[in-house]
Amino acid sequence: MANLLLVEDDASVRQIVMLQLSLVGYDVRAAEDAGQARRMMEEKTPDLAILDIMLPGEDGFSLAETMMERAVPVLFLTAKTAVSDRVRGLRMGAEDYMLKPFEPEELLARVENILRRTRKARTHFVFGALVVDLPSRRVTKGEREVALTALEFDLLAMLVRRSNVALSREALLSGVWGYAYQGETRTVDVHIQRLRGKIGAEYIETVYKYGYRFCGEGEGKP
């Protein structure tokens, strides 16, 4: 699983972002200033650094330069809304630039995009007996191969990538079917039912009035 380094000086935001990322299965370490971040980077080079810009002492831009020298992709997460800051951040080679406040879902999507671009994204998932391999589009449960339609596989892939975090029906619909199907959330429900029938109902939870969540705690159990 990808290992991320979060540098954020505000304790509340640090706590919440860390929780969001670790729930999906990322290995997250958090630092509250540049010095601590550098020490953590020495211990183990992260696959992605998520940096606040306004840090006490050395700021995020300067820290990002060191990160990029070591080929660590950088995502800025900041309250600095000025276009000039965004341009500066992206021009110096950051992968992305996100403004606070943000939707956790968006953060996850952008983190995933960066990891996919840098080929660090996880493509092989094991949840107990259930194994999902994205490149070969194969799903097995125990010894038996589970036959899924293309749509069902895409739906499952989207869910396992965000295991433990709920996805709304709208997000699933636009992610799998595309925007042309907007509004037809019943389609999602129908396919989720079929998917549950094929892989086992216990893997997909219904989140009341919202959508669905894939339960994939740890690598061992469902």
Binding site: Q20, P101, Y210
Partner: protein, 438 residues
């Protein structure tokens, strides 16, 4: 303005130069004429004497006249002899209008005739003979005409020169005015640095000074307004930025609660964080409201007891020492309590082994802590909205970054000031002094 000045000058030159030259010409004419008259009278007297001798011998006749003419006369001087109003020689008398009156004289009379330009002298002699001498004075008249023509030419040249001079002078006089008009136009466009003319005369200088005072005053006022607007904008920007962090935590926390499977302890931790961030927002809001209220409302000052006020302010804290004598403060008691509490909160945040100390003075108080201290740079920025010398410590203590700006506003409301001195590792003292003359 320029035209009027030029016209006035030309008119002035005309009224002075015209009569002056006319006077000179007529005076010189009169003098020359007087000399001619004296010469003519002298000559005529000689002729008359000679004639008297002739008449005494009683042989006055036609020949006498021609003899006189040849002996005394010339081209200019013509001599006539008259007897009973007729010339003896029978020649015609010069046509002069007032000749009959002249000839009527009993003795000697002169007449200057401007038409024929002759000076006539009639002299009644014995034997009813009258001697009439006519002197041609046309050269004198010609001289006068010459002079008048010259004067006219001179006048015209003078007038032209005066006109040119007037245009130039009026230009010089009004140049500062048109430059001032340019400067005013530039001022209207917002250029306060437009050069102002320098004038030599006092009235114009007074106008220019007044104008430059006015433009400086406008510039100053506009700068003040702009600074105020910039400060307000900076506060709004800082506020927007400052609100984003708690909002991120609250929004992120809510989404996590909504979307994720969390353990009970994770949930309660999240809720704690969210509640803390929400209360930080609410403190921020409260302080901002108070800051704006203090900007707009006139304070209600009243005397109050300083020790009782400090006791009330410190009742919410533990372990704060108070010292100093009682005094009567004049000001807003509630705001003074708020000020003292804010300073004590900051002092306690600085940490330190010894208790925070509040010292009362007749004109204010000091709040001293023995904590971490602040650098000069931190002190300089301490009163900026949302500036936090130690972000982590302030945040964890629920600070909003508006305490000191609010304190300073309260101090200034009392025409006072906050003064901060600090030493790293030794502690910080904040002194509040208000104006006791209020």
């Amino acid at each position: 303005m320029r035209k009027r000045i030029a016209l006035c000058m030309v008119a002035l030159v005309l009224t002075l130069l015209g009569p002056g030259m006319a006077l000179v010409v007529s005076r010189s004419f009169a003098l020359t004429m007087e000399r001619e008259r004296a010469r003519a009278l002298g000559e005529e007297a000689a002729i008359a004497r000679a004639l008297t001798l002739e008449t005494a011998e009683g042989n006055v006749g036609r020949s006498t006249a021609s003899t006189l003419q040849t002996r005394y006369g010339s081209n200019e001087l013509t001599i006539y002899l008259l007897q009973n109003g007729e010339t003896i020689t029978g020649e015609a008398l010069p046509t002069v209008q007032k000749l009959p009156e002249l000839l009527n004289t009993e003795t000697r009379a002169t007449l200057l005739d401007g038409v024929s330009e002759r000076l006539l002298i009639a002299h009644a002699l014995d034997g009813e003979i009258t001697l009439l001498t006519a002197l041609d004075v046309s050269p004198v008249y010609a001289l006068r005409r010459e002079l008048l023509r010259g004067a006219a030419a001179l006048g015209l040249i003078g007038l032209a020169l005066a006109g040119a001079l007037a245009i130039w002078i009026s230009g010089v006089l009004t140049r500062p005015l048109s430059q001032l008009a340019d400067a005013a136009a530039k001022l209207a466009d917002g250029d306060y640095a437009a050069p102002l003319p320098a004038a030599k005369n006092d009235e114009m200088n007074a106008l220019i000074r007044a104008f430059s005072r006015m433009s400086a005053a406008i510039d100053e006022r506009e700068t003040a307004l702009r600074t105020q607007a910039e400060e307000r904008q900076a506060l709004i920007d800082a506020l927007a930025h400052e609100m984003r962090t708690p909002l991120t935590a609250i929004l992120g926390g809510a989404r996590l609660l909504q979307q994720s499977r969390l353990s009970g302890s994770q949930q309660s931790e999240l809720l704690d964080t969210m509640a803390r961030e929400a209360s930080r927002l609410s403190t921020m809001d409260e302080r901002l409201l108070l800051l704006t209220r203090l900007d707009h409302e006139a304070p209600a000052f009243a005397p109050f007891d300083s020790q009782a006020m400090a006791r009330e302010a410190l009742s919410v804290f533990d372990g704060v020492r108070m010292e100093g004598d009682d005094a009567v403060f004049v000001g807003e008691r509630e705001l003074t309590i708020l000020l003292l509490r804010n300073l004590v909160v900051n002092a306690q945040r600085a940490g330190g082994k010894e208790a925070v100390r509040v010292t009362l003075h007749p004109d204010g108080f000091d709040v001293t802590d023995y904590g971490c201290g602040m650098t000069k740079e931190q002190i300089a920025r301490a009163f900026e909205p949302f500036y936090k010398a130690d972000k982590a410590r302030t945040r964890s203590a629920g600070g909003a970054g508006l305490g000191l700006p609010l304190c300073r506003k309260i101090a200034r409301l009392h025409h006072g000031e906050l003064h901060m001195e600090s030493e790293i590792g030794r502690g910080t003292r904040v002194c509040y002094r208000f104006d006791t003359s209020l």
